[in-house]
């Protein structure tokens, strides 16, 4: 016996609902997702969470994509009660990406935002205790960025040297700090 499957809400509908609460919250609408205005992203997401129609109380996942020109943070929200899912994107600057944190709204965002910060370097403003999740604190760069290997010393894609071996980058919480290397 079939059950109603999850409905993927169209971007236009989502944008409409968000605009009803946060008029300047939406930057761009496509069929599949809504791109939010970064400055109003927090309010917009608070709105979509508390909206009766959208009811996005369940943060399905949070990740980021490096689009070369910019970095976009992708959110999937879902309503378990109404069984639908929709997608929200928040663009950020590529060099100094900064996106408002939604940990005040969803506990579940805490670790995922740390992961995105760790691997993509997106700073989530308002996140208490935003630190690297997987890598050690002194790890140079953010590996999921497309230009990651171009980071230190002009290295290009293809890892020829493990970052820790670069002099002056003896980070790592378990290593004794070397005097004089700036670590």
């Amino acid at each position: 016996m079939p059950y109603p499957a999850t409905v993927t809400l169209p971007g236009t509908f989502v944008a409409e609902r968000i605009r009803a609460r946060v008029p300047d919250g939406v930057r761009e609408v496509t069929d599949g997702w809504v791109v939010l205005e970064p400055a109003r992203a927090y309010d917009a997401m608070a709105a979509l969470r508390d909206d009766d129609e959208l009811d996005g109380k369940y943060l399905v996942q949070l990740c980021s994509v490096d689009r070369i020109t910019h970095i976009e943070v992708v959110y999937h929200f879902s309503s378990l009660a109404q069984n639908h899912i929709f997608e929200i994107k928040v663009p950020a600057d590529h060099e100094a990406p900064e996106v408002p944190s939604i940990t005040k709204l969803w506990i579940g965002a805490t670790l995922q935002e740390r992961e995105v910060y760790d691997l993509m370097g997106v700073r989530f403003t308002g996140h208490e205790g935003l630190s690297r999740l997987f890598l050690w604190d002194k790890f140079p760069g953010h590996p999921l960025r497309k230009d990651f290997m171009a980071l230190p010393g002009g290295q290009k894609s293809g890892l020829s040297q493990f970052p820790k071996q670069v002099p002056g980058q003896t980070g790592g919480e378990f290593r004794p700090r070397m005097p004089g290397t700036g670590a």
Binding site: Y3, V60, Q61, V65, E87, W106, I107, L111, F134, P143
Partner: protein
């Protein structure tokens, strides 16, 4: 009169018998009570999401084995579904049913492990682990029979499954699900569900309220134990799960005990599904022929399935090339850990261990 005591910071892990891998909790404790918990992960980080960007879609399937190495089949399946969704590939009927059978077998194996390890965290001296491992081994025997591997199966393929089942598979499966496992699950019921010590240890330990569970994006048994009847097999059916009759077991008060009982019940429901799938197994091809270096059209897809640990989702972005432009895994183990602090603060160390055991994390999936 209260006794003042110094707060002690204790590292639970990364080398600890019951952190299920290299997981580290830094607990600030007052006597035996936990005041604050900080979790440290990343000891098993292999940067799979980055590695996958330089491999073809098919080459990425083994990575999913190594994420949740206790439930490789479901990780495989989730990934293949996402690529199929992205590329618009149809899967033959037989492959769908085979996927269901193996996903449910994998659920049984993973829940066996979770239940046994949980009781071990409660302090039983290896006995439940041995019992549940015995049954897990039988399931793994079937995996070995089919795809040659027991843990890292690498069985699902984009467009179907890697191999068709051998002739002796169905009789063995029939014996397993009709003769062996039902009896074993009854045994678990008698041994574990009514055990007073487990009741004392796991009742009202690590409680998650429904509001908190939804807010923290919990999934799987964690979510269902809080009293929320949510199962992606019902909510967003994939692989034809809507054709099978099964129930969602739902707990009452979201504690560790509920999660344990829930897992045992879910194993029984998995048996129901497998029995139906066995009889519904159609003949036909087990795989759609897709090019080895498949190039899905540019776009993105998010697909999610119900893995034993919870909702495992794969967000795949393609730029039209042979390798995914971006590949993100929504790891249920990691996200279920979001409420670790809320669950453990105020409890004793022993309770924290029980709580951690009941979350059923897999560090391979947490760290990826």
């Amino acid at each position: 009169m209260t006794i003042k005591s110094d707060l002690i910071e204790v590292n639970i892990g990364p080398q600890h018998p019951s952190t299920h891998g290299v997981f580290r909790m830094v607990a600030l404790i007052d006597g035996e009570r936990i005041v604050d918990v900080k979790m440290v992960v990343g000891y098993l980080h292999r940067s799979m999401e980055k590695l996958a960007e330089e491999r073809t879609y098919t080459q990425n399937i083994p990575f999913t084995d190594r994420m949740d190495y206790l439930a490789a089949m479901t990780s495989n399946l989730g990934y293949c579904l996402s690529v199929e969704k992205l590329a618009g590939i149809d899967v033959p009927e037989r492959a769908q049913v085979l996927r269901v059978i193996f996903a449910e077998l994998q659920r049984i194996a993973s829940h066996c492990m979770a239940t046994g390890a949980f009781i071990n965290d409660c302090g039983a001296w290896q006995t439940p682990v041995m019992y549940t491992f015995r049954d897990r081994e039988k399931v793994l025997d079937l995996f070995e029979m089919t795809c040659g591997a027991r843990i890292t199966t690498n069985y699902m393929r984009i467009g179907g499954v890697a191999f068709d089942i051998p002739d002796e598979f169905l009789p063995a499966l029939d014996k397993l699900v009709n003769d062996d496992l039902p009896y074993r699950f009854e045994e678990y019921d008698r041994l574990l569900v009514g055990n007073e010590i487990i009741l004392m240890r796991a009742r009202d330990v690590g409680v998650v309220t429904p509001e908190m569970a939804i807010n923290a994006s919990l999934s799987g048994p964690m979510l269902r134990s809080a009293g929320i009847a949510w199962d992606l097999r019902k909510a967003d059916p994939y692989c034809g799960y809507d054709q099978y009759e099964f129930d969602i077991p739902v707990g009452y008060n979201g504690d560790a005990y509920d999660r344990m009982v829930l897992r045992i019940e879910e194993m029984k429901q998995s048996l129901r599904i497998i029995r139906q799938a066995m009889h519904a197994l159609p003949s036909g091809p087990h795989k759609t022929e897709v090019p080895l270096a498949i190039r899905p059209p540019a776009g993105e897809a998010y697909s999610r399935i119900e893995s034993p640990k919870g909702e495992i989702g794969f967000y795949v972005v393609s730029d039209g090339g042979a390798a995914p432009y971006r590949w993100h895994v929504r790891a249920p183990s990691l996200i279920n850990l979001s409420v670790l602090k809320e669950m453990t603060v105020g409890q004793t160390i022993a309770d924290a261990i029980v709580t951690l055991g009941s979350i059923d994390i897999n560090v391979g999936e947490v760290d990826r």
